[in-house]
Amino acid sequence: MRNAPWLGTLTVVGSGAAALTIILLVVVVMANILIGGWDTLSWEFLSAAPTEGMTAGGVFPAIVGTFLRVILMSIVGVPIGAITAIYLSEYASQRSIFARFIRFAVNTLAGVPAIVFGLFGLGFFIQFVGGGMDRAFGDGVELRWAQPNLLWASLTMALMTLPVVIVSVEEAMRNVPRELREASLALGASRWQTVYKVVLPNSITGLLTGGVLAVSRGAGEVAPILFTGAAYFLPHLPNSLSDQFMELGYHIYVMSTQSPDVEATMGIQYATTLVLLLLTFSLNFAAVYLRYRMRKRAIA
């Protein structure tokens, strides 16, 4: 059997067909959403609020909500991720138990389902931290922090995207040539000076890539914010951290599953999906480009 020509043909054709199937699947999904959403997509759709009980108008508040959430998430998540990467790559010895614990934690964090992060956000941020803040600062009657809001949703998301940042920054730091570090140390610079003045500037693309990938992942994920901050419809934009917000992915979910007349809003649904897809694509594309440049420089 090991010499049977048919087995060879089968292997090559079968695996080729599998590859082709995957490519086709991607093309079909993309084409469907592009065609379905193209007609409704317009400048007005991007810049207007939903009207007439969400059956007309645009998705501006959802775009703003997604944007705010992603910005807040990056402000918290990227520095923490970068510092963790610095520790793993520059400070920890490979054999140290502490570093291995952290590495294990990062890998585990990457595998925790998004919905469990949502539960954590609810149990920890909203109930525990928010509840505590309300007891400490509030008037004891009105709930301000112990309820879903922009801050808790962003923090939950920041924790979820932490591994993305860490992995990307660490890769960039490993690509910084050893000689550079040695030269810096030989000139009398300390470890922190070397990290700060030599390693970090040389891995700035990795930092950017990590940030962009985290934003892309965060922008598309809906499960963790289902009950930590996203709202079905709001008449006004969020203007403080303790406000709820509308969000693109959540908007798609709500419009396609809970609206009384799904057919009537099909155009809006497709267009919203297209907006989200274009957003994550442009981010991913930027990340791919940055990584490509980084690797090219690492080789050169």
Binding site: S15, I33, I80, V116, E221, N284
Partner: protein, 349 residues
């Protein structure tokens, strides 16, 4: 002399502080895992601690009443005993208690007059959908990975790799939307299934999310097979497909196994796709064309409407804990396989 002394001392302090600060920040990842563990389990705990004794009292008390009612009817002795047991069970639900028997029942009706928190249909649902997804995704992804690293012409590789990256970049809500609007209709037209949204549609949609994970890790594993092995095989006269099938693939098996495990973990925990595409009916069947409600979708759909501290709330956290433990175990096993087995195998240990 003095100033240089000062400089060195200040210098050391800042160095020391920087290192400690960095280590402390790095520790945060570990702390988060612990916190997730603590806080998700903490909210699930009341089920086990408070309900049991109270339930017992209720049940005993109700038994008497049930006998009374039963005496009015003319059921046989056996029937009465059965009925009594059933009633006693249902009384616990009225109280909103989640006894072990309630949790292991086959009904999930959390917001009825007699809330029933049977987790079995949800567990079966999750397993069913994940199984369909991995059965579809794993062969496709592994074969495609084999193809890229062995047979693929450069041009195909240049299309396939970005295609996989694009697939990995699809937000799950987009895949869910596609499944809900397009795929479900397509499947129904093709097979004439009774329900538009069912486990099969959910599984197919989920496989789209699983393919990139399995592909990426399987391809890594295949690429990590030492060149000396494949070259030796080719030098001995084996053709390229023989090398791929009988040398590369067996050598990469542990990594591919890990890829499949991580794929299962992703499928099991994925929420939005199954929430949108599976119909969300908590049926305890093994038919793939029935609607199904998974554990993750149950949390996603119900958590926003539940009263804090309610039994229902606690049960949803219990489901989250089960999800967490399950994916945690899968990841740990997968990592073990990738790290240990692969290394040992290639070092010839």
């Amino acid at each position: 002399m003095r100033s240089s002394d000062l400089y060195t001392r200040k210098f050391h302090v800042s160095e020391f502080l920087a290192e400690k600060l960095i280590a402390a920040t790095a520790f945060l990842s570990f702390a988060v895992i612990i916190l997730i563990f603590v806080f998700v389990f903490r909210e699930a705990l009341p089920i086990f601690s408070s309900s049991e004794p109270a339930t017992h009292d209720e049940a005993v008390q109700e038994e008497v009443e049930t006998y009374g009612e039963e005496a009015l009817g003319e059921a046989s002795q056996l029937r009465a005993a059965e009925e009594k047991e059933r009633r006693a069970g249902s009384i616990e639900h009225v109280e909103g208690n989640a006894s072990l028997r309630n949790l292991l029942s086959t009904d999930w009706q959390p917001v009825s007059g007699e809330p029933k928190f049977g987790l079995l249909p949800l567990i079966v649902g999750s397993l069913k959908v994940s199984l369909i997804a991995i059965l579809l995704a794993a062969p496709l992804a592994i074969l495609a990975a084999l193809y890229t690293s062995t047979f693929a012409p450069k041009r195909v590789k240049e299309i396939l790799k970005p295609a996989i990256e694009i697939l990995a970049g699809f937000p799950s809500v987009v895949i869910g939307f596609f499944a809900l609007i397009v795929l479900a209709t397509f499947v129904q037209d093709l097979f004439g299934t009774m329900y538009r949204l069912n486990a099969f549609v959910g599984g197919v949609a989920l496989s789209l999310a699983v393919i990139p994970i399995v592909y990426t890790i399987a391809e890594d594993a295949i690429a990590a097979v030492p060149k000396s092995m494949t070259e030796a095989s080719l030098a001995l006269g084996a053709t390229s497909w023989q090398t791929a099938l009988f040398v590369t693939l067996p050598a990469a098996t542990p990594g591919i196994f890990a890829a499949v495990l991580l794929g299962v973990g992703r499928a099991f925990g994925e929420t939005m796709i199954v929430l949108m595409a599976t119909g969300n009916a908590a049926l305890m069947t093994f038919n793939v064309t029935d609607p199904v409600r998974t554990m993750s979708a149950t949390i996603g759909a119900e958590m926003a409407e539940v009263v804090f501290g309610d039994t229902h709330y606690n049960v949803l956290f219990l489901i989250g804990s089960i999800l967490f433990i399950f994916t945690f175990t899968l990841n740990a096993v997968a990592e073990f396989y990738i790290r240990r087995r692969l290394l040992r195998k290639f070092r010839g240990g």
